[in-house]
Point group: C2
Chain length 479, copies 2
């Protein structure tokens, strides 16, 4: 018999957060590295998390009237160049196809880094009248951005995402769409991923290349750094003019339609790890966990144990709980460690003595608490526990966010707070000028995360230039 | 008010089948052409058909123990070259990335034409012991093959598909897997797409590059040509040896595992069009139709019509029927033509007189038959009609297959049959030699479709060389 594999220790998160993160990515079997830097393999367990996120998002997209489509993988150079700001933002990080079959291509083709130009090209073919609007489209795909430094989930040269693209008769309709999709991202982050968000608008400097406005949900990770977790862009008619997409309205007047796009990616799996994980591995919120309950039989060679475990498994599954039993011949210690590493929210231990007393032990992944549960009514009690775990994880993350959100009155204070906590969100007033944003980065090493929708009045002046302030802004260190 | 668009006529299928096919692709709003030859846009209606196919397949893959994963888009040239037959088959039609960011890459990377090499590379990292086997994986993605001539669905330089890849301890296990997945493809073709299949094995000449055996489901299109609709490959240990993937078995002996792959693509949507379509457009089998029933109110400005149509819509939806109502201000004639073009299996017409008599008219897309139905019990009668349409479409396609399947005793007879019918499946005996296969192509212009699992004894000799025959084989003209 081959020796059982040991679950390897991971790096302590307090000692080296970055190494702890990549340890979880590989040891929880979420990803593997491929032969090309920055292109990662999503293994079954990692992809199953993404499937759950996809399914929650896709349901909401369809409920709000969106249809999925599939756009081409490749963009001709001339098409990418049609919108000036957009090409400036993306061209430097494109991967280019120059050979097809065995021939040099007459025009090089970039692998999509995002698909605004492809959607616009298509819309220029199909939109003539107000009857053709709105188009509410989404696509599930991967995109490529040739980054210099790469990390699983957080910064890949290839990553999976959805990109929604819509086009409307009026600016107002498009603005409503942009806000609606940001709300869906906020809901997914908070209610599914148990990641509290700060919602707001990006500054001119930080917005998407070619957008009029970019809206964002920003989350705080365990190391107090910020993760931009979903963005929604309003484009006005900049692209539609560049691509000559026009329509005749009900009065036969020709107008340019208004456009949006919005995206969420596998990056949020990185967010899950860095929000809830601990030194034993991943910790998954029940709503997004591929396995919500792992049943580990104890002394499973004893008569009746396997059968009872199977019975419990069937009962939990019948109640709609994503349960699995580990009937492998690994030791209980090995099993515990493996499923802890994988972040399964609840473990049920079941041995001969438990069976005798018609009970089992439920061990919470988040608190390590062990609770004795009767085998009668098990499913409903397990459901209650899973709900409680979901809420507890959100509360803990919200605590972290609240505890590390500060206000400051000078750039020096911002710097001090950030240095003291190794991160954090710092709110200040701001005049709205790019120069002050750059200055803050220079002094305190932070970037603007967003201008929150929930504004507070922290004073009348911009603490950087002392001119009248326009907004309250949030600063932080971002992934 | 902008003038309503007319539904344009499509080319007569008897006059020009190829043009009729592309007319349906665009006029039924399945696809649009992009700026790159051979890369097509799947529009909402086309993609919705693919989503239904994906969902039927994915359910079966999961029921049979498979997990989805995501492999990288790009394959380094050196990795593609590891298996000799494989690279010979695919290298000539690869698209190559040579520039990343603004730098020339040290090694060119091809966009995956298929992912055997990527799966093997990954497996070489994670497989050590019998405990790590089998791996039963699948991925949903697009692949690129730089074809010279291209057509929507049938031959794209990019197409969407699923590619399953599995690796097993023994040859026997892998062979069972290969057969199981072919059965799933046959079931999807026959029971969902209403496309009868001929199941069999590919010849050495026609098999997948690098495979030991390739199994196929072959369908006959309306024009009597063949469409290879799904394939399942057994690789033996050829790749695992080339990639040095080995495992220690329960007795600690080192062995090479055995491998399979299997795929079905958006090509089958081309199959749906060419199996069931007619001169009014697409005809969709109810099980795969994004919209099963279209309700078209007649004289909808009259009081009560819209309300009743909405009521009927709600009742059908509540019964699990994919129904939609067309409340647009288009004329009934325009509505009828549009939904016929899109192949909706059943149209329900509902006007003031129908409402008065508590009934409606149900018009079948397949037979154009009109049936009066009571509004009581409507959902259950609609379900029966949809079942009947599903079966009728299968029967009609089976009729076409049976009527155009022939046996022949000489290559000259094969040629004559094929010329007379412009296609058809012709069965003959065959010695198994490549030379005779080539000769048959030269004489009769056909390729071997498969060696059917259901063998018949048509004689003792190969009709090409007159040596002893090994199998009965099926010849045809393939897409």
């Amino acid at each position: 018999m081959a020796k059982e594999k040991m679950v390897e220790q991971i790096t302590d998160m307090e000692r080296d957060f970055a190494q702890w993160f990549t340890d979880i990515c590989t040891k929880a079997e979420l990803v593997d590295y491929s032969g090309v830097k920055g292109l990662f393999i999503l293994r079954p367990y990692g992809y199953a998390i993404w499937e759950n996120i996809m399914s929650a998002l896709d349901k909401r997209f369809k409920e709000t009237g969106h249809s999925n489509v599939s756009m081409p993988l490749l963009i001709p150079e001339s098409l990418l160049q049609k919108e000036k700001d957009h090409v400036e933002g993306f061209a430097p990080e494109c991967a280019w196809v120059t050979i097809g079959g065995s021939e040099e291509l007459p025009e090089k083709l970039c692998i999509r880094p995002t698909s605004e130009t492809l959607f616009c090209d298509h819309w220029s073919h199909i939109i003539q009248s107000w009857r053709d609007l709105p188009c509410l489209y989404n696509q599930w795909c991967s995109v490529l951005r040739w980054e210099k430094t790469t990390r699983p989930f957080l910064r890949g040269r290839e990553f999976l995402w959805q990109e929604g693209h819509t086009i409307h008769q009026t600016a107002e309709e498009a603005e409503i769409e942009t806000a609606q999709m940001l709300e869906i991202y906020a809901e997914i982050c908070q209610d599914f991923l148990a990641m509290p968000v700060v919602k707001g608008e990006k500054t001119e400097k930080e917005k998407f290349a070619g957008a009029v406005n970019t809206y964002t949900v920003e989350c705080m990770m365990h190391d107090k750094k910020a993760l931009q977790s979903g963005t929604s862009h309003y484009f006005g008619d900049g692209f539609t003019k560049a691509f000559d997409i026009s329509f005749s309205d009900k009065e036969n007047k020709i107008s340019y339609p208004h456009q949006t796009s919005w995206g969420m990616s596998t990056r949020v799996i990185g967010g899950l790890i860095m929000t809830h994980g601990d030194n034993n591995g991943l910790v998954l919120p029940p709503k997004i966990a591929p396995i919500q309950v792992i049943i580990t039989p104890v002394a499973q060679h004893k008569p009746g144990v396997t059968e009872k475990a199977q019975e419990v498994l069937d009962a939990l599954k019948a109640a709609g709980i994503k349960a699995k039993a580990d009937f492998s011949d690994n030791s209980p210690g090995r099993k515990f460690a493996e499923w802890e590493m994988k972040g399964v929210p609840l473990r049920i231990e079941l041995g001969p003595r438990d069976i005798e007393s018609n009970s089992c032990i439920a061990a919470r992944r988040d608190t390590a608490e062990k609770i004795s549960l009767s085998l009668d009514d098990l499913a409903s009690n397990v459901k209650k526990l899973l709900d409680d775990i979901q809420q507890s994880l959100f509360k803990a993350a919200k605590n972290n966010l609240d505890k590390h959100t500060f206000t400051a009155e000078t750039p020096a204070q911002v710097k001090e707070i950030i240095e003291q906590h190794g991160g954090g969100f710092v709110k200040t007033m701001w005049c709205g000028d790019r120069a002050c944003e750059d200055k803050m980065k220079e002094i305190a090493g932070v970037t603007s995360r967003c201008i929150p929708f929930e504004q507070e009045d922290l004073g009348a002046l911009c603490p950087i230039c002392n001119k009248p302030a326009k907004h309250m802004i949030v600063w932080g260190i971002a992934y």
